[in-house]
């Protein structure tokens, strides 16, 4: 499998019951299948198709992505936690692409 990289940005301190923004990006070309290389050969489609964020296993945010999403797909959303928990992130796509991240959330 290709080695991949993702960036997840969370506030430095998260308070119980207070909304906070989660920003997630994964390094991926999101090749649309509509572009040609310099020799005129069509570049095959290679997309991230699905992003999920779970809190202790329960699905909290899901996104189906299409070719119109830019390279290095970025999504941001707002969460609110009443108790500490573990956020798991997964990106899945063409050619068996999969990238996972875990973030333990402690509340202050």
């Amino acid at each position: 499998m290709r080695s991949t990289r993702a960036v997840i940005v969370l506030p430095a301190a998260i308070q119980a019951g207070e909304p906070f923004e989660v920003r997630a990006t994964v390094a991926h070309a999101m090749e649309t299948g509509y572009r040609n290389d310099d020799a005129g050969t069509r570049l095959p489609r290679d997309l991230v198709r699905r992003f999920e964020c779970r809190l202790d296993g329960e699905l909290m945010f899901a996104a189906d992505l299409f070719p119109a999403v830019s390279a290095n797909p970025y999504v941001a959303f707002w969460m609110r936690l009443s108790q500490p928990g573990e956020l798991s992130f997964v990106w899945r796509g063409d050619a068996g692409f999969e990238h996972r991240e875990l973030r333990r959330i402690t509340l202050s």
Binding site: D37, L55, L59, M60, V69, V75, W78
Partner: protein, 136 residues
């Protein structure tokens, strides 16, 4: 706007990929996601209305009441769907942000779906000077 930027935009326009969605294809895609033709409703769709580079355009969609999901559609990119989003119980606000490609100037549409089955939509006209999809 600089003349060179404008010329580059027009040159790119002429090289548009043959595949292109349409208003009809977009309406069909919205119907598939929403199960209906949603009426206009209160929904925030934030995006720069004049975009120099269509490769990565920040966009934010926000509902003003709790919803199950939000989605973005485009009539003039090669395909009508952009992103479909679904929310779980720990989501604090019915909104999301992303970055999208714009193949040309067009009217982007956001649709919301509530738990009781109601759906509504809003649109935003965006002008693109340098399009996406054909750029290396």
């Amino acid at each position: 706007m600089k003349r060179r930027t404008l010329m580059a935009g027009l040159a790119t326009w002429a090289l548009l990929p043959q595949a292109q969605a349409s208003e009809d294809a977009m309406r069909a895609a919205i119907r598939r996601w929403a199960g209906q033709d949603p009426p206009p409703g209160p929904l925030t769709l934030e995006m720069a209305e004049l975009v120099e580079n269509g490769n990565a355009v920040p966009v934010r969609v926000a509902a003003r009441e709790p919803v199950l999901g939000l989605a973005l559609f485009t009539p003039l990119n090669p395909e009508p769907e952009v992103i479909h989003v679904a929310f779980g119980p720990a989501i604090a606000r019915p909104e999301f942000s992303t970055r999208m490609r714009l193949a040309r100037s067009q009217r982007i549409v956001a649709v919301a779906r509530a738990a009781d089955g109601r759906c509504w939509q809003t649109g935003l006209d965006v002008i693109v000077t340098l399009a996406a999809c054909v750029e290396p």
